[in-house]
C-alpha cells in the first residue's frame, strides 16, 4: 500500500486541524456518493478555502463560439453549476500576513505540485493558488496543516482572514503592537460556534495607528485601532473600535462603535457582535447581507445596545484574556545586531530600491524591506529562495501586505546592500514599492467568475508603462496609488485608491466593449479614510491615457502641498469629467478592432463567460450544516461497523442522531447547550410534545428511535452485530426524518417558535 501525506505527516498535524481535514475528506466522498446536497457541499468547501474559478461551469467562449469543455465528471458537481473536475482556486489564510520560512517553502512546493507554480498574494494578506483540483485539496490542506497553516474559513459566510498592519511592532508611529491581538482574534473566532451562521462574510482588520493606510480599518466589518488611555496614572491599552465598513458595490465607511474599548473586552465584544450578526443579519438577500446593512438599518445606537445586551449574556471564557499576559513582550526578535548603513559598497540599482522599498523601523539600526511582487505573484523557486533569505538576514520575520507584496522585517540596515544583491539574484529587487507603479489588482477575468474586465491585464500594462518612466515622474505623482478591480465588487479596493478603476462593459453598435469606470480621489491614508468619486466609463484600452492625463494635470495645476484628493475636490467632478470626455469615445470596430478585445486577451470581448460568483457563498443555514454533519457521522459509524467495532459504531450512530436533533432544536432555541442530554430533552419538549416531529404515517416512531438509542447507548458491552446494524438503520431513518422536519420548517409549513427577543425587535425596527 502506498504512503499518503496523511501517513507521513500525521504526527505533525495538530489534532483539531487533522480532524477537520479528515471530516472534509469524508464529505468529498459523501458528495461523490450523492449523499450531500450540492449547495451544502459548496458552502462546506468554501469554508475550507476552495473556491470556484471561471469556466468551472464547463464552458468557455473562445472568441468565436462557446466551447463545451471536456471535463470528466460524470455529471458530478461541487456546487450549483460547478463541475467536479474543473480546476478551481484555493485560498490560504495567513493571519496578519505572518509567515515563517518553513511555511514559505511549503507554499512554494504546493504551488508547483497542485497549482500552476504561482503563489498569489491577495489584497487581504492571503495566499491564493489557481487551477487546483478538488481531489488534491485534502493532501494540500494536510501539508499546510503540518506547518501550522489552515485554509479553514478562508471563504464562505464566516470570519475571513484577520488582517493587520504589516508594520505592527516596528512602526515608528504606532500606539502599540497589534500583532498579538490580531493573532488572538483570529484564533478565537476561527470555527467559533457563534461565527458559523452568518448570511455573509465578516472581515476584521487591525491597525496600530489611525493615520496610515496599512490596516485599512475603515473598510472592514470590524476595524480596530490601537489606543491607550491614562487611568489613575496607569496607562491602559484599548482600541478605537469601528464596525460596519465595507467596499463592494455599495461602499460604507465603518462607524465608530466605541472610542475606547479596553483590551480585555476585545474578544467578548467581537463574539457579541458575531452573535447579533448571526441572529439579525439578512440571510436571504445576499446583496444586503453584510453587517454594514444591518447596522445602517438599525442605526449605530441600537446596534450598540443589542451588542451590549448580548455581551451581558455571554458566559465567561478564559480565552478572552488568556493571551493578554503575552502582549507586552516583543513578538519578534532580530537575527543580527542592528547597525547603520555606512561605508558598504552599494550595488547598481540599490539607491532607487532603497528610496522606495526600505522602511526605517522604530528600533534603531533596523529596517523593513519590501519585496515588490508584480501583481502579487511569486514563483515557487522565488518563494523557496526568499525563505532562505528570510533565514539568512532576519529571524524569519516575514509578512504579506495588502499591497500584494512581502515584507522582510528586522533587517540590520548594514545588511541592505547584501540583501539587495540576494533579492536581485532571484528577480525580486524591483523598486517602487508603495508608489504609483506598484499597481494593485484583483484576479478579474483571469480567473474570477464575476470578473467583467481584465483587471490584471490592465494592471500589468499600467505597471509596465509607469515603470519605464518612473525615474522622470514627479514625486507627487509617484506617491499616488492605483488599484484595479475586475468588477464593482471591489476586491481590488478601487474605492480607496487615488486613482481607481473597476471593470464594466458598454454596448457599442452591437459590440460589447470592455470599459473601466474611473474613480478618483479615494484616500488610502488614514486607514482608507475616504472613498473615491466615479467620473465616468472609459474604454479599457484608453485607461493608460487617463492615468497620464490626470497625473499631468495634477502636476501642472496643483497648489503647493495640495493632495490629490484635494485637487480632485477643487476642480470638481464636472471639470474632471470634461478633461476625460474625449477618451470615453470608442472608435468603430473596423477602425480600431483592438478596442473590442481586453488587455492580454486576443479574443473578441464577450460577457458570456461570466458566471455566478461564490464570494457570497451559499446561504446555507446552520441547521443544514448540522444535518450534513449528522450524515457524515452516520457514514463514519458505518465504517466502524464494517471494521467490526460494533460498540463504536453504535455510539457514533447515537451521536449522529443527537446531531440531527440539535440541528432542529437550534431552529427553535438558539441558546440551547451542546450537551447531548440537554439536546435530547429540548428535542422532546420542542418537537415531540408539540408534534412538530411527527410523520403522517409513522407517527412518533422515528423520534422514539432516538430515545431508545439514548437508553441503549449506556449498555453496549457485547452488543450483537444484528442489534448494532439495527441501531445504524434506525439512526439513518431518524436523520432522514429530521431532514423532512427541517424542510417543513424552512418552507413555513410548520410554525417556528420565535427565538429570543432581539430578533423580533430588529425585524420590526
Amino acid at each position: 500500500m502506498s504512503t499518503t501525506w496523511k501517513d507521513k505527516l500525521g504526527d505533525r498535524i495538530a489534532s483539531d486541524l487533522g480532524r477537520e481535514i479528515d471530516i472534509f475528506e469524508t464529505q468529498i466522498e459523501l458528495r461523490k456518493q450523492g449523499k450531500i446536497d450540492e449547495r451544502v457541499f459548496a458552502e462546506t468547501r468554501l469554508r475550507r478555502g476552495i473556491y470556484g474559478q471561471r469556466y468551472d461551469n464547463g464552458q468557455r467562449h473562445d472568441g468565436q463560439k462557446i466551447q463545451k469543455l471536456k471535463i470528466a465528471a460524470g455529471g458530478l458537481t461541487k456546487g450549483p453549476d460547478t463541475v467536479w473536475d474543473a480546476p478551481g482556486m484555493m485560498r490560504i489564510k495567513v493571519p496578519f500576513g505572518g509567515l515563517n520560512a518553513e511555511q514559505m517553502e511549503t507554499l512554494a512546493d504546493l504551488s508547483e505540485e497542485y497549482a500552476d507554480g504561482i503563489s498569489h498574494v491577495t489584497t487581504r494578506q492571503d495566499i491564493q493558488y489557481h487551477f487546483v483540483h478538488i481531489e488534491d485539496t485534502p493532501a494540500l490542506m494536510r501539508r499546510l496543516a503540518a506547518v501550522g497553516i489552515t485554509t479553514r474559513e478562508a471563504c464562505g459566510n464566516v470570519v475571513r482572514n484577520v488582517t493587520a498592519c504589516p508594520l505592527a511592532g516596528i512602526c515608528r508611529d504606532e500606539t502599540f503592537d497589534v500583532t498579538p491581538y490580531a493573532k488572538a482574534s483570529s484564533k478565537f473566532l476561527l470555527g467559533h460556534p457563534d461565527t458559523q451562521d452568518f448570511g455573509r462574510k465578516f472581515k476584521v482588520a487591525f491597525s496600530g495607528c489611525a493615520q496610515h493606510p496599512c490596516g485599512l480599518t475603515s473598510m472592514h466589518d470590524m476595524g480596530v485601532i490601537a489606543r491607550t488611555r491614562s487611568e489613575n496614572g496607569t496607562e491602559r491599552r484599548g482600541f478605537e473600535f469601528y464596525v460596519g465598513g465595507g467596499l463592494g458595490a455599495v461602499p460604507y465607511k465603518a462607524q465608530l462603535f466605541d472610542e475606547f474599548l479596553p483590551e480585555e473586552e476585545l474578544l467578548p465584544t467581537a463574539q457579541a457582535i458575531a452573535r447579533v450578526f448571526a441572529r439579525l443579519g439578512e440571510k436571504r438577500n445576499r446583496a444586503r447581507a453584510r453587517i454594514k446593512f444591518l447596522i445602517a438599518n438599525l442605526g449605530i445606537e441600537k446596534f450598540r445596545q443589542l451588542v451590549a445586551e448580548e455581551r451581558r449574556k455571554l458566559a465567561p471564557d478564559d480565552r478572552w484574556t488568556g493571551y493578554l499576559a503575552d502582549t507586552r513582550q516583543d513578538s519578534e526578535r532580530p537575527l543580527r545586531a542592528g547597525s547603520a548603513l555606512n561605508g558598504q559598497v552599494r550595488p547598481e540599482g540599490f539607491e532607487a530600491w532603497y528610496a522606495t522599498n526600505v522602511y526605517r523601523q522604530r528600533q534603531p539600526g533596523y529596517v523593513a524591506a519590501t519585496v515588490t511582487l508584480p501583481l502579487g505573484d511569486i514563483t515557487a523557486d522565488q518563494l523557496r529562495d526568499l525563505a532562505g533569505i528570510a533565514r539568512r538576514f532576519v529571524r524569519e520575520t516575514v509578512r504579506t501586505t495588502v499591497d500584494q507584496n512581502i515584507l522582510l522585517r528586522w533587517v540590520s540596515e548594514a545588511d541592505l546592500p547584501e540583501l539587495y544583491r540576494a533579492l536581485k539574484q532571484i528577480g525580486l529587487a524591483d523598486p517602487n514599492a508603495g508608489t504609483i507603479v506598484d499597481v494593485t489588482s484583483c484576479p478579474g477575468t483571469d480567473t474570477c467568475k464575476l470578473g467583467i474586465a481584465s483587471s490584471r491585464g490592465l494592471a500589468k500594462e499600467l505597471r509596465q508603462r509607469l515603470s519605464e518612466k518612473s525615474f522622470e515622474l514627479d514625486q507627487a505623482v509617484k506617491d499616488l496609488r492605483i488599484k484595479v478591480s475586475g468588477c464593482f465588487n471591489s476586491c481590488g479596493q478601487h474605492h480607496v485608491a487615488d486613482i481607481g478603476f473597476y471593470g464594466i462593459s458598454r454596448n457599442i453598435n452591437g459590440y460589447t466593449v470592455p470599459h473601466f469606470q474611473v474613480m478618483l480621489g479615494g484616500k488610502f491614508r488614514d486607514n482608507a479614510g475616504a472613498y473615491g468619486l466615479a467620473i465616468g466609463a472609459v474604454p479599457s484600452k484608453r485607461i493608460p491615457e487617463v492615468v497620464t492625463r490626470v497625473t499631468d494635470r495634477y502636476v501642472a495645476e496643483r497648489h503647493k502641498g495640495e493632495s490629490f484628493q484635494d485637487f480632485i475636490g477643487r476642480i470638481g467632478k464636472k471639470e474632471t469629467k470634461a478633461m476625460l470626455e474625449d477618451l470615453m469615445k470608442v472608435p468603430a470596430h473596423d477602425e480600431a478592432p483592438t478596442f473590442y478585445s481586453d488587455w492580454g486577451d486576443t479574443r473578441e470581448f464577450t460577457l458570456t463567460d461570466m458566471g455566478v460568483g461564490e464570494c457570497a457563498g451559499e446561504v446555507v443555514s446552520q441547521a443544514q450544516f448540522t444535518l450534513a454533519a449528522s450524515e457524515r457521522e452516520i457514514f463514519e459509524a458505518q465504517i466502524w461497523f464494517d471494521a467490526g467495532d460494533l460498540q463504536k459504531a453504535a455510539v457514533l450512530a447515537y451521536g449522529a442522531m443527537v446531531r440531527a436533533a440539535e440541528a432542529l432544536v437550534r431552529t427553535q432555541n438558539y441558546e440551547a447547550s451542546h450537551d447531548q442530554e440537554v439536546i435530547v430533552g429540548e428535542f422532546r419538549r420542542l418537537f415531540c410534545d408539540t408534534q412538530l416531529f411527527y410523520d403522517k404515517y409513522a407517527g412518533s416512531t422515528f423520534a422514539d428511535y432516538l430515545f431508545k438509542a439514548r437508553d441503549a447507548v449506556r449498555e453496549l458491552d457485547g452488543i450483537h452485530k444484528g442489534v448494532a446494524l439495527q441501531r445504524l438503520q434506525e439512526a439513518q431513518l431518524f436523520i432522514d426524518a429530521a431532514h423532512s422536519c427541517y424542510n417543513k420548517i424552512a418552507a413555513g409549513a410548520a410554525p417556528a417558535v420565535a427565538p429570543a427577543s432581539p430578533v423580533s425587535e430588529a425585524r420590526s425596527a
Binding site: 471561471r54 469543455l69 471535463i71 473536475d85 514563483t379 532571484i426 509596465q464
Partner: protein
C-alpha cells in the same frame, strides 16, 4: 516505483528571438481549434523566471516556461499514465516533443522558434512518490537510461540529478551531439516499433 505527474522540458534554441506575448494568441488559436481539451490560459509573462504563458488542460498543462531564466516548452502531465516507468517517461517525452513540433510549425512564429533536442529536463511533480534523493534516482535510473537510449540512439549522454534538495526530483539529460525535435520523435517512434 509507480511514477506519475511527469514534467518534461525542452529548451528554445535561440531564446533572444522569442517573445512570450504572441503565445497568448497562439494558444488561444489552439483552443479554438480544439474540442474542449484546453480549459484556459494563464499569463505570467510579468513574473521573472516564471511559468510564462500556461495553457491549462485536464490531461496536462503546456507552457512556454521561463524557469531559471531558460525559455522552453514545459509539458506538465497531470492525469495518470499507464505502462512501465520507461513507457510512461517515453509517453510524456513524446507528448512534449509533439507540442514542440507544433510550435516550430506555427505559422505565426515564422520559424523563429526551434527547440534543442540535445537537452531535456525530466521532473516528477510529486514529492511524496518521488522525493528528491539518491534512492529515487537509483530506482528510476534504469528507466531514464532506457529512455535516453531510445531518444539518442547510440549517442553518448549524461544524466544529472537536480542538486537542490528543496526542488522536485528531476534529471537533466544531455546528449553528446545535437538533435532536433523531429529526430527525437522519429527515434522514439522507431524504438516502439
Amino acid at each position: 516505483m509507480n511514477i506519475q505527474k511527469i514534467n518534461v522540458k525542452f529548451f528554445v534554441a535561440e531564446p533572444s528571438r522569442v517573445a512570450l506575448e504572441p503565445f497568448i494568441g497562439i494558444f488561444n488559436s489552439w483552443i479554438q481549434a480544439s474540442e474542449g481539451e484546453y480549459y484556459d490560459l494563464a499569463d505570467y509573462g510579468h513574473v521573472p523566471s516564471g511559468p510564462g504563458i500556461v495553457l491549462v488542460a485536464d490531461e496536462a498543462n503546456i507552457s512556454l516556461d521561463n524557469t531559471e531564466n531558460r525559455l522552453g516548452l514545459l509539458y506538465n502531465r497531470k492525469r495518470p499514465l499507464e505502462g512501465s516507468d520507461t513507457d510512461k517517461l517515453a509517453s510524456a517525452v513524446a507528448s512534449a516533443l509533439a507540442y514542440c513540433r507544433r510550435i516550430e510549425d506555427e505559422p505565426a512564429l515564422e520559424g523563429r522558434v526551434r527547440f534543442r533536442g540535445d537537452e531535456a529536463v525530466i521532473a516528477i511533480n510529486d514529492r511524496l512518490a518521488a522525493p528528491n534523493n539518491e534512492e529515487t534516482l537509483s530506482a528510476l535510473r534504469p528507466a531514464i537510461d532506457a529512455l535516453a537510449h531510445r531518444l539518442f540512439g547510440t549517442a553518448d549522454f549524461t544524466v544529472e540529478k537536480e542538486s537542490d534538495s528543496r526542488r522536485r526530483f528531476g534529471v537533466r539529460i544531455r546528449a553528446a551531439r545535437p538533435f532536433n525535435t523531429e529526430a527525437l520523435l522519429e527515434n522514439l517512434q522507431k524504438s516502439v516499433n
